[in-house]
């Protein structure tokens, strides 16, 4: 049934009943706000009177209002009713938007994804054919939890050559990505009696959750203009580890000095700077002095544009640093392949925590080994680096021309940049971006709930995901949302 809410000029196409009714109402109201038919500040009828008008249940209207308040389209204040939100950032009038699939943004600028359109399908299949043709029978059986020896050998050579990792195959444990590696390490640390892991003030919530799931607390280190500051680890822990929103889970032990630290030394995620050289040395010294363990998340170490990549921290002390790497950024997350280079004393514990058998598919492992040893991996990374660098350059140029007041940081490496915003504007800019059909994240999303420093307003803009032909359109949409 189609109903017209004549007084406000809102056309409602409603299904007779069920969840479709609420969604129909929500969509119609959202559209009316988006297109300006409901002007900012307009007061909406009470849910009771609108429900009576439309002949539907009052709760359905109340629910639709609540959804739109949560999404930022409406505001609800005690005593002033429900109003259309005063949008502070108006999307540029000139942009013509194509209708898009519900839920799917036109451009996806969230960080953490490589350009999936550039996955080297032909070369991968070629490597798969060579690998499977020459694989021994036993490679198809239940595997050793360490992972296929062909892959561990290939990784040892690659990581020592390219990332300065002290790697030999016996130290390497293949896993299903960095998340899986952290799940394994979380179990190992907890079994060793560790209670708290120091983390960075900015990072991935999913990683903190994995550590919490293992029964560990996470305690953020300070972050200053030089980046993550491990000084508290070194000088003694001053009680930053505390209970808080970030430490969910039931079985977390009481706060204590961290005995492990999770870092992104080559390219802080998402802030983008490398760990300062003095601090690199300080972290390793701390680990040596106290028997602590450093978990080095080297998620995109291959992608540095203006000079040689910063070598892995693990090279400074392979017995105190666990190196974690992944094919998710260099090739594709769908492969679910990552690796850890472990101190020898941890290898068997980690293999047991992995489940005692290999949980990673043998064929992809053999294919990646072939891909590495044949040189196809190097060629792919080199080509990808050039492509991302061009995107980075286009981003910087577009900002300089069209949003000169926005400073891009963390642009020397990786697949994303951080765009600093005027204080207090992050939320509205992210909201405006969503109106533009642009999926992107504010920095707040990456801030540890217990972080001590003042929040910074910024966007985290990934440039991996849009395919090459979509990049300039994505840049246009981005610049249109910036203040």
């Amino acid at each position: 049934m189609a109903k017209s809410w004549a007084t406000l000029g809102v056309d409602l196409h409603l299904e007779p009943a069920g969840p479709g009714l609420r969604r129909g109402l929500t969509d119609a109201l959202r559209d009316a706000v988006r297109t300006g038919r409901l002007a900012p500040g307009t007061r909406l009828p009470s849910s009771r009177s609108l429900a009576a008008d439309l002949g539907i249940a009052r709760n359905t209207v109340a629910d639709a209002y609540a959804d739109l308040v949560a999404e930022g389209w409406l505001t609800a204040r005690q005593g002033s009713g429900t109003r259309v939100a005063e949008r502070r950032v108006v999307p540029s009038a000139g942009t013509v938007r194509r209708p898009r699939e519900r839920g799917r943004p036109e451009y996806d600028l969230r960080p953490g994804f490589p350009d999936l359109a550039a996955f080297p399908r032909t070369e991968w299949l070629r490597a798969a054919r060579r690998a499977l043709t020459s694989a021994p029978y036993e490679a198809l059986g239940y595997g050793d939890p360490h992972g296929r020896p062909e892959l561990r050998t290939a990784l040892a050579g690659y990581l020592s050559r390219v990332r300065g990792v002290h790697a030999d195959p016996e130290r390497i444990l293949v896993c299903g990505g960095i998340s899986h590696g952290l799940r394994i390490l979380g179990a190992v640390l907890r079994a060793r009696g560790v209670g708290t892991v120091a983390v960075e003030s900015y990072g991935l919530r999913a990683h903190w959750k994995i550590l919490h799931g293992a029964g560990l607390r996470t305690a953020p280190l300070p972050f200053d203009e030089l980046g993550t500051d491990p000084g508290q680890l070194v000088e003694g822990w001053g009680g930053v580890s505390r209970s808080g929103e970030g430490n969910c889970g039931s079985a977390t032990p009481p706060a204590e000095r961290p005995r492990a630290v999770l870092l992104t030394p080559a390219h802080q995620f998402p802030m983008g700077s490398p760990l300062h050289r003095d601090r690199r040395a300080a972290v390793v010294d701390w680990a040596r002095r106290t028997g602590g363990l450093v978990l080095e998340d080297d998620y995109d170490g291959e992608f540095r544009y203006d000079r040689q990549p910063v070598g892995a921290l693990q090279g400074l002390d392979p017995d105190r640093v666990v190196y974690l790497g992944t094919a998710s950024k260099s090739l594709a997350p769908g492969l679910r392949l990552g690796w850890m280079v472990l101190p020898p004393t941890l290898v068997e514990e980690a293999a047991a925590a992995k489940g005692g058998i290999d949980t990673c598919g043998a064929l992809d492992q053999l294919t990646l080994a072939e891909f590495l040893t044949s040189g196809a991996y190097d060629r792919h990374v080199r080509a990808a680096r050039l492509r991302y660098r061009r995107r980075r350059d286009a981003l910087v140029a577009a900002l300089a021309e069209r949003a000169p007041q926005v400073r891009a940081t963390g642009i020397a490496a990786g697949l994303h940049a951080v765009l600093r915003l005027p204080p207090g504007t992050e939320r509205s800019v992210v909201q405006a971006a969503h109106w533009q059909g642009l999926a992107l994240d504010g920095l707040t999303r990456y801030r540890h709930p217990d972080a001590l420093a003042d929040p910074l307003d910024a966007l985290v803009v990934g440039y991996g995901t849009p395919p090459d032909h979509g990049w300039s359109g994505a840049l246009d949409a981005l610049c249109a949302t910036l203040p």
Copy 2:
């Protein structure tokens, strides 16, 4: 060109020019510091003088120094030049020692492996090519924890056609094999407050351990001449669940009535009989009446030789039975691909317990989907069934001729048989087999530590593993060890 930087004992193997030159210098210096040839505190020559020494550009040296300062190997201070960082260089603890691999047996008759030599490599690669060529970009990204929709759709069709499973794609969760499925289900059951899972008196220790690892107890059901007897579930639990060797782990709850049961209804592992029809009905009735859950491990349901396979128990009540299947027996364990068909109420809990993202490689999932829908899977299973049946027949014939006193049971289906032995002889026969270069297992290995029935003496003889040409030699060796 190889140059020796004689005064400092650093050997440099330098490429004539380009980025390799700088990298060669950086690597050589890093190695010299790591190995202690350049001692902490050593002052390095100025970049100008080293460059002159080596006949290379001064910038190359300055860049190499800067890289190593950034990595923490060197320090650069105004007025004191570039020095090797003050740090005790800890030599790596060296390679990890793992127990020496013992001599491989000449014939491997342990159960649980398919014939890996018969893995359809060419057909698999063909399917991989078709799957990867047509895959959408997003298939290479971080995946939905339910698994690829292509595979879930293909499995739904296959399982309902071949195994009588009530399957639709929305109920299916792709996992890394039955062990992984049980790990997920163990977490779900424990979170729902289940304390004890009834299991069969004979089964896989690895599966019981997974349930114990989730904090659950396992309590064995009786086993009689009709197979596993679920009568105790149905008539009330008589205290069979007790603490014992089988229930290791620290956090096991006190004994209680089982609220879930793990069974191998189509082909009891390892005893080989299907669950009696009256008992199938009784188990499902129990689950309905009590709100219990049945976990159906259908590890080799496709392989039945003398009549139609027994349909899946899940078909009797899809809301009370979780169906678990795997490609480990039909194709190869190395694929690490399995699947669960779940009651709708469990799907989201299981997806969350899987980790909230897909942990299984997308390419193998897409390939298996293509393999199923193209008919290649059916063709492969049919050919494998014929081959295993011939092996089974050869085993039965050899026993009839050369060890007529040994009775083979569980031979109607699957990839293994149980050879009953005179009481008290199992251990010596297994020992004798090892002396013959024959790897095989006694039945004791598969008996739950809390099983109530008297132990039976028997061998569990798998006929999947030896390649076709090795089967008659394996049979000779086996018959030579039998009493």
